[in-house]
């Protein structure tokens, strides 16, 4: 592998990690709201959160671009306040990858939280535990396998993200090119040997990530 391909590899892994880290807390908050609370309009939010799963990733990317571009309202503010440009810089990549991972993570987190018997939490509350303590000592430990699996699944999804990234971050070699983008460029330019190498790396990486998420879910099931 040449330096450019190696860079694409670690850049992808780093951005996937950063993206998952970026959305982990919001994803947990959403999952908790969906699993533990009832309020009017809940099903609307539920659908909205799942939307990026079925929306073309390019559409997700376009929404992000309109939001984070230099003339978008968030991007315009970041540019004016900190001189930060997000769209078409490396900063856009973790954002795009995180956005792609979010719906999957919310789903897994929600299932994990729903698997925790609310009566156990109730008992803890009757024993005088505050909400945070209940969360820390009862809910999280009981849900941890599913939460872990959600994190790893989100990471795996982020690794392969293409459509949102290419719209929001562009395919700029040495700046925003992830494995998926580098692979596309190699195919487009007819560099077959490079494409093949990137393909192999992608398979190994995706296989590893999926295997880890299966293990996170499965290992504890057996007593």
């Amino acid at each position: 592998m040449d330096p450019e391909e190696l860079r694409a590899l670690w850049f992808t892994v780093a951005c996937a990690l950063a993206g998952v880290g970026l959305v982990a807390l919001p994803a947990f908050g959403l999952a908790w709201l969906l699993a533990r609370r009832d309020w009017p309009g809940k099903s609307l939010l539920e659908t909205a959160v799942a939307l990026p799963l079925v929306l073309p990733p390019v559409a997700t990317g376009l929404i992000l671009l309109k939001l984070l571009g230099r003339r978008g309202w968030l991007g315009g503010w970041a540019h004016a306040a900190f001189g930060w440009d997000i769209a078409f810089t490396w900063r856009a990549v973790p954002v795009a990858l995180g956005a792609a991972a979010l719906p999957l993570m919310v789903r897994s987190f929600r299932v994990a939280l729903e698997g925790v018997d609310p009566r156990l939490e109730q008992v803890a509350r009757t024993l005088g535990g505050g909400e945070l303590r209940v969360l820390r000592t009862i809910t999280l430990p009981l849900a941890q396998r599913g939460l872990l699996a959600g994190l790893v699944l989100g990471f795996a999804r982020a690794l392969g993200e293409f459509g949102a990234t290419v719209v929001l971050a562009g395919n700029i070699p040495g700046e925003t090119s992830t494995l998926a983008l580098a692979l596309y460029r190699a195919v487009e330019l007819g560099r077959d040997d490079q494409a093949l190498r990137l393909l192999l790396v992608s398979i190994v990486l995706a296989y590893g990530a999926l295997w880890m998420s299966e293990r996170a879910l499965g290992s504890g099931r057996r007593p």
């Binding site: 990690l17 991007g75 395919n171 700029i172 487009e188 007819g190």
Partner: protein, 262 residues
Amino acid sequence: MRRILGLLAFSLLMAAWSFSLRAAEAGPKLKVFAAASLAESLQDIAKLYAKQGGAEVAFNFAASGTLVRQIQEGAPADLILSADEAQLDKLAKAGLLAPGSRADLLSNTLAVVVAADSPLTVTSAVDLASPQLGKVAIGDPASVPAGAYAKAWLQGAKAWDKIIDKAVPCDSVRGVLAAVESGNVDAGIVYRTDALISKKVRVALDVPRAEGPPIRYPVAQLKDAPGGAEAGRFLGFIEGPAAAGVFKAHGFLLLSVTAGAP
């Protein structure tokens, strides 16, 4: 619980660490956005520039329309070399170019290429429309200057309407070249300079300069060039005699540079 928090913290640390590595590695690099057709020549020129003690140059080669769109949305760039005026005009209109830095640098001609082992002959634009010839790859005229030039040439020869149905639009002129190399299309319209770098294609028809639209490659410095003065130095180098030799060797035609950096 601890495992999850540990994993999260670990991944954030890893990400932070790799980004800090990246920041350290980045150093004083110039970022030059350039038309895909310039890849080989500009890389050679950057090597010459480094030998003279100039800064390292990182390139982004893509269709000029793509580059312009990226810069409009805030992608950091020092210089842009576009393959046509129209794309650069968009940046000029948006006030993103450094005043007085724009200059017409190069010219080129179009060529119809076929796979090296293809028996097809093409003697005119109208031949491209013949039913013996299947798909024809061209750059997407909306964002790829080579495609826009090709369209103008075909329209001038009254062949565009007949070809449009079997034209395969590509993301960049190098995409056209790759499509022809792979044998997935019968012919493609690229620049002469692109045809010269590939052994897997053969020039079936050189479009005469008089017949095709005038092709001009303008260069300019961006107003917000992160490289500052170094950007101007590299621009001067690109317009200088050493670079001219490299461009000529790759088959480009030089336009006299009138404006530009000192």
